[in-house]
């Protein structure tokens, strides 16, 4: 095919994606405006299978997640054509079909009204993203894709077990029937099913220790696909956890079993800390962002955990559960926005410099100013700093945790406050990580010729990024309006009043927690942002006021030597103090080899190598892998190659089966 | 002194005791550890005096005076004399990282609070939180003994543990009989003297510290 057909295919394909995403956003907004009524949209699909009815159901929860999918998909669709033109590494048909299929199956998972649609769409989502990951054909891509597909299918297997158990009990695939049948489940069986579902969805969400595929698969895909995978696919798994934990498997009345809430809270805290700790040590931009997704999924799970602990207990704790769930859902939307923005900027850097290693970049802020400022915005948002959206959802999570700890009794309250301290720790670590990422990549001197020859990204790429940045700023500055979006999902799952009644007691510009009881805390992001803006502008005027002394430029003082890029601080050096402090968790390996000259005091060559490997990978997965390999080799020794032996095996199996199941 | 005021003061002294224990755990210098232990013993004497004036129990005044004389003046002086005689290094060497020790101390405090919530009927109302604080002080004193190389720090840990036992005894209802308190103090003095003599002898004959002695095994 000629270049012209490539371009047309790309543009058409992405236009289809854009149209679909806009439609999705419209449907989602319509779904959330319907108020507190239950299933709003109930659309039966044509009967593909004779044994099951397929149906699409759109309620508040589905609509909210569909909105998140649509927003990122719109940005990706606008960004995609220019990115793929600069970065073309695979056939355009695969790219275009893949991304449309991917977005479509994610939307279908969210709207599925019965188990069969859900599983089929889930599988389609996995296959489409796998195709996009391995499309480039490099060896690292195929390896990453292999790990991804194996782990994803392990998770899907667990989900199938859960769904089949529920379907057998209900006698039908429909969610409504399942919900009805699950009401009569005995307690232990209900908990087992929930934990299996948590494990199955946890693989896809990237919960520690099931996160090992994430840092390999997300960087391998093209950047706008990584934005969709990281920003949205993880959220589809969160949707699954919410659907099972709070809707399908929830007991008919009364609080949820305490073990559910505690497990989710502990897993969330662990994922948050471990994700950000490993993110600090990466110097590949996309790998760093992938580890941060693990961290943010942890934060979302913390909000869900406290909501599960406090749900349906009556009185003040119901309001707090709604606050915690609202915080988790808002963080879902926020993360989709700022993670998408960061991945798209990383893609722009990749297009301009063909390099993602931070240690080879630098000084890009002067060559790509728009991308640099947008990356800075995303970095400030993900570090949960005011006045952007990351701070709003973390503020709400903190309020839910502290007010919740006062409601629970003493020991549990202390454990909840410990997880709040863990959340504060991850905030600090995330800020350190993004100072490193932004500073080493965009500031200072260019460290290689790639960085020196960088050019600004194409306007359509910038447009996609600006869209997501606008979402970040709007939710940060006007969070009260975002609470209205959260009404439908929270009321659907927990009943009672929605966040816009609980959290914005004094108008949409003021967020208030616990205002319905006790003293409560109120914060007005709009007023805070306005005052910050005024004071920063005043300071800017003072700084830039023309003075008689004037401004001049001079080279940086580097102790008398001519300044070159080797004087700039490297990313590895920036993260060294934290690597040293948390050495227990990192177990870094260091090898130093020296080559001396005539005398041992004269050094010819010094080779220094330091590794930080994911501990989960070493202790858990490598052991599992070697066990499976040994098992396979043991079985292999048994296979002789003669047909008589194989027939003998078949006969023995038949006899055993008849013995076991033949009677009755 | 009224009951409420005494209860408030003992609460404050309890938290100050926890503070001094944290400082001993974190101390990198022998002099700081010894002086902090003296301050801790002074706080114990103060607590005894407060409780004595609130309940009118003469025994508590005796114990306060005894603690003041022995553990605030005599034993620290003894330790400082050993340091001066032996010209020991001031720096405290640790067997496990200080942050790990602090984490274990936090866990110990949690555990004692959890356990003592079931022992509520044993304590006097006036002393409030003193029982769990006393028990955790005792256990953390043993933690100090376990995690420091320098032999002198083991003595400091023993004395701190001792303070914890006294504080626990004050918390228990009806108090401990005077004779037992004097007996415990006598044991501590004896232990300190024996340790001091052994350290001096070991240093003068072998020339190394007690922490290096590990040949006595099967």
């Amino acid at each position: 095919m000629s270049i012209r057909t490539f371009r047309v295919t790309r543009l058409l394909g992405h236009a289809v994606l854009l149209a679909g995403a806009l439609a999705g956003a419209g449907v989602a907004l319509y779904g959330m405006s319907g108020g507190a009524s239950k299933a709003i949209l109930h659309v039966p699909l044509p009967k593909f299978f004779p044994f099951a009815d397929l149906v699409i159901v759109l309620d508040g929860l589905s609509a909210f997640f569909l909105l998140a999918v649509s927003v990122v998909a719109i940005a990706a669709a606008v960004y995609g054509p220019a990115y793929l033109k600069a970065h073309a590494a695979s056939s355009p048909i695969v790219e275009v079909l893949g991304i449309n299929f991917f977005a479509g199956s994610m939307a279908l998972v969210l709207c599925a009204g019965d188990a069969l649609t859900f599983l089929l769409a889930w599988e389609g989502m996995t296959l489409a993203s796998y195709a996009l990951v391995v499309a480039e054909g490099k060896k690292t891509n195929t390896h990453a894709g292999l790990i991804y597909i194996v782990m994803a299918h392990a998770g899907t297997a667990l989900l199938m077990v859960v769904f089949l158990a529920l379907t057998i009990r209900a006698g039908s695939f429909d969610f409504a029937a399942i919900r009805q049948a699950a009401l009569s489940l005995p307690g232990p069986e209900r908990s087992i099913l929930f934990f299996l579902a948590l494990a199955g969805f946890g693989v896809k969400a990237g919960v520690v220790p099931l996160h090992v595929w994430l840092p390999q698969a997300h960087p391998a895909a093209p950047s706008h696909v990584s934005a969709l995978m990281s920003g949205v696919m993880l959220k589809v798994a969160i949707y699954g956890i919410l659907r099972f934990g709070l809707d399908l498997l929830a007991p008919v009345s009364g609080p949820l079993p305490a073990s559910w809430g505690w497990t989710v809270l502990v897993l969330g805290s662990l994922s948050a800390i471990i994700g950000v700790l490993y993110a600090l040590q990466q110097h590949d931009l996309k790998r760093l962002l992938a580890f941060h997704s693990v961290e943010n999924v942890g934060i979302i799970l913390m909000g869900i955990g406290i909501a599960m602990l406090l749900a349906h207990r009556g009185g003040a704790s119901d309001a707090l559960a709604a606050l915690g769930l609202a915080a988790a859902l808002l963080h879902t939307l926020n993360h989709a926005a700022f993670k998408g923005l960061l991945f798209l900027s990383a893609g722009a850097v990749q297009c301009a410099t063909h390099e993602l290693n931070m240690e080879e970049l630098g000084g890009l802020a002067r060559r790509m100013p728009w991308t640099a400022w947008l990356f800075l915005l995303g970095a400030v948002a993900i570090s949960a700093l005011p006045p952007l959206n990351g701070f709003v959802s973390e503020w709400m999570t903190f309020q839910a945790l502290i007010l919740g700890s006062a409601v629970l009794n003493s020991g549990s309250g202390l454990a909840v406050i410990t997880s709040a301290a863990a959340l504060a720790l991850t905030g600090g670590l995330a800020a350190a990580c993004f100072v490193k990422a932004f500073g080493v990549t965009f500031l200072g001197r260019p460290r290689s010729s790639h960085a020196r020859d960088a050019a600004e990204a194409a306007p359509s790429m910038l447009a996609g990024m600006v869209l997501l940045a606008a979402v970040c700023v709007i939710i940060g500055v006007l969070p009260g309006y975002a609470m209205r979006l959260l009404d439908a999902p929270v009321m659907r799952l927990l009943g009672g009043a929605g966040p816009s009644a609980l959290v914005t007691v004094r108008g949409p510009l003021v967020l208030s927690a616990g205002g319905s009881f006790g003293t409560g805390t109120a914060v007005s992001m709009t007023a805070a942002f306005a005052l910050f803006g005024i004071m920063a502008l005043a300071a800017l005027c003072v700084v830039f006021w023309p003075r008689s002394a004037g401004t001049c430029r001079a080279p940086t003082w580097t102790c008398g030597m001519a300044p070159v890029s080797r004087f700039d601080y490297t990313a590895t050096a920036f993260a060294k103090p934290l690597r040293f402090i948390f050495a227990i968790l990192y177990q870094p390996k260091r090898t130093v080899s020296k080559q001396t000259g005539v005398s041992p005091y004269v050094l010819r060559q010094l080779h220094w190598q330091s590794d930080v490997v994911d501990l989960a990978q070493i202790h858990f997965y490598n052991r599992l892998q070697s066990f499976v390999t040994r098992l396979a080799q043991a079985v292999r020794r048994r296979s002789t190659g003669r047909i008589h032996d194989y027939i003998g095996y078949v006969l023995i199996t038949l006899l055993v089966t008849l013995l076991l199941f033949g009677r009755g | 002194m009224s009951i409420a005021l005494a209860s408030y003061l003992i609460g404050i002294i309890g938290s100050l005791l926890l503070l001094t224990m944290i400082v001993i755990l974190e101390a990198g210098d022998l002099y700081r550890a010894i002086y902090t232990m003296a301050v801790q013993s002074f706080l114990i004497a103060l607590a005894g005096a407060v409780l004595g004036s609130a309940t009118g129990n003469i025994d508590l005044w005796v114990i306060a005076g005894l603690t003041l004389a022995v553990k605030v003046v005599a034993l620290p002086w003894l330790l400082l004399m050993v340091i001066h005689r032996m010209r020991i290094h001031r720096k405290i060497e640790v067997l496990m990282p200080v942050t790990v020790t602090l984490a274990i101390a936090a866990a110990i405090v949690m555990l004692t609070f959890y356990l003592s919530s079931s022992l509520g009927s044993v304590t006097q109302v006036i002393t409030g939180n003193a029982l769990p604080i006393g028990i955790s002080l005792m256990l953390i004193g043993i933690l100090v003994m376990m995690s420091r190389r320098t032999a002198l720090m083991q003595m400091v840990g023993l004395f701190a543990s001792e303070n914890g036992i006294f504080f626990t005894a004050m918390a228990v209802s009806q108090g401990m009989p005077l004779i037992i308190e004097i007996g415990v103090t006598l044991d501590v003095i004896l232990g300190a003297l024996v340790m001091g003599v052994i350290i001096l002898r070991v240093k003068s004959s072998i020339g190394s510290d007690i922490a290096d002695l590990d040949e006595l095994k099967g």
């Binding site: 005011p386 502290i402 709040a420 600090g428 003293t519 409560g520 910050f532 700084v543 | 609460g11 926890l18």
Partner: protein
């Protein structure tokens, strides 16, 4: 509403007071340190003269720096001033159950603004391209990481009782809480004093008077700035110091005016000044008594504050 308008004016007035007194506090600390070192030292108004000098000078910018380098100091000053609005200095009205009158922000937003200021300073430090800025930024962000959990635990140990994280509400809480400075508050105060040293960048965490790269954390980040940009960063540093002092006072020793009568306001102001003086003496004495800790011994020092804060919360809840 009348009272709402008063609250707005009082917030802005208190912030202006903090900004104006900030350099004076630094001057007092320098003077006390000098006298303890048996020398005369500069006058207590020297920081004001330094600021005026800096704002009159021109800028010398590194040739590799981007426009971000010149804009960052203004943003840092804006963030610190926004934080100054959130802490009650003299006036903290007693509320009767409803949420506070001025929903500007709470303790978490204050920490957030200070964290934003630190983020931007550290990022700008990497722009001039040299080892000083990078090392200072790396170390400052590490110390920030270790300090944040302890700060949150201190706030929560007070907020659990008050039921809110709003500083004005905590300071104006009914008498029952103010009068009972208990065991848990003592541990939290100990932790907060250590954190005050860490956040204001004083010995034993950081040396504010030196310019050797191995002993700089905060100063290392300011090294490449000059003229009005440096003036903004220095003013932000003074303001941050006095904001943190007011923060400590409103958490632990809140003697604030409950109404708008002049006598109460004067007493509130006097209480604040005395508290600031006490904390200044504390900081100066600690700086003169101790040596700066080796950087890799800092986690050990800061974990004492973490343990103290944790025990404070535990004592409060158990």
């Amino acid at each position: 509403m009348e009272l709402a308008k008063i609250s707005w004016i009082s917030a802005l007035g208190q912030a202006a007071l903090l900004v104006m007194l900030g350099p004076l506090v630094t001057g007092v600390i320098q003077k006390i340190k000098a006298r303890l070192q048996c020398r005369q030292g500069a006058g207590v108004t020297q920081p004001y003269r330094d600021l005026v000098k800096l704002f009159r000078k021109g800028t010398v910018q590194a040739d590799t720096a981007s426009p971000f380098f010149r804009i960052a100091p203004a943003l840092v000053l804006g963030a610190t001033l926004a934080a100054a609005l959130l802490v009650p200095v003299i006036f903290a009205p007693v509320t009767s159950g409803a949420a506070t009158l001025l929903p500007l922000g709470d303790a978490l937003l204050l920490l957030g603004w200070l964290a934003l200021a630190r983020f931007l300073t550290a990022a700008a430090a990497l722009d001039a391209g040299g080892a000083f800025g990078g090392m200072g930024a790396s170390r400052e962000m590490t110390v920030a990481t270790l300090v944040e959990p302890a700060l949150i635990l201190v706030i929560f140990s007070v907020a659990v009782v008050a039921g809110t994280t709003d500083l004005g509400a905590i300071a104006g809480h009914p008498v029952a809480m103010r009068a009972s400075f208990g065991a848990s508050d003592l541990l939290a105060l100990f932790a907060m004093l250590i954190l005050l040293i860490a956040e204001t960048g004083r010995i034993p965490v950081d040396n504010p008077d030196t310019h050797l790269e191995l002993t700089m954390l905060h100063e290392g980040m300011l090294l490449e700035h000059s003229g009005p940009g440096l003036g903004c960063l220095v003013l932000a540093n003074h303001t941050k110091q006095i904001v943190l002092m007011a923060f400590v006072q409103s958490l632990f020793f809140p003697f604030k005016a409950a109404g708008m009568d002049p006598l109460a306001l004067a007493l509130g102001l006097l209480a604040f000044l005395l508290g600031a003086l006490a904390l200044s003496v504390f900081l100066a004495v600690v700086e003169s008594m101790y040596a700066k800790l080796r950087f890799f011994n800092l986690p050990q020092f800061l974990s004492v504050s973490l343990l103290s804060a944790f025990l404070a919360v535990a004592l409060r809840l158990l």
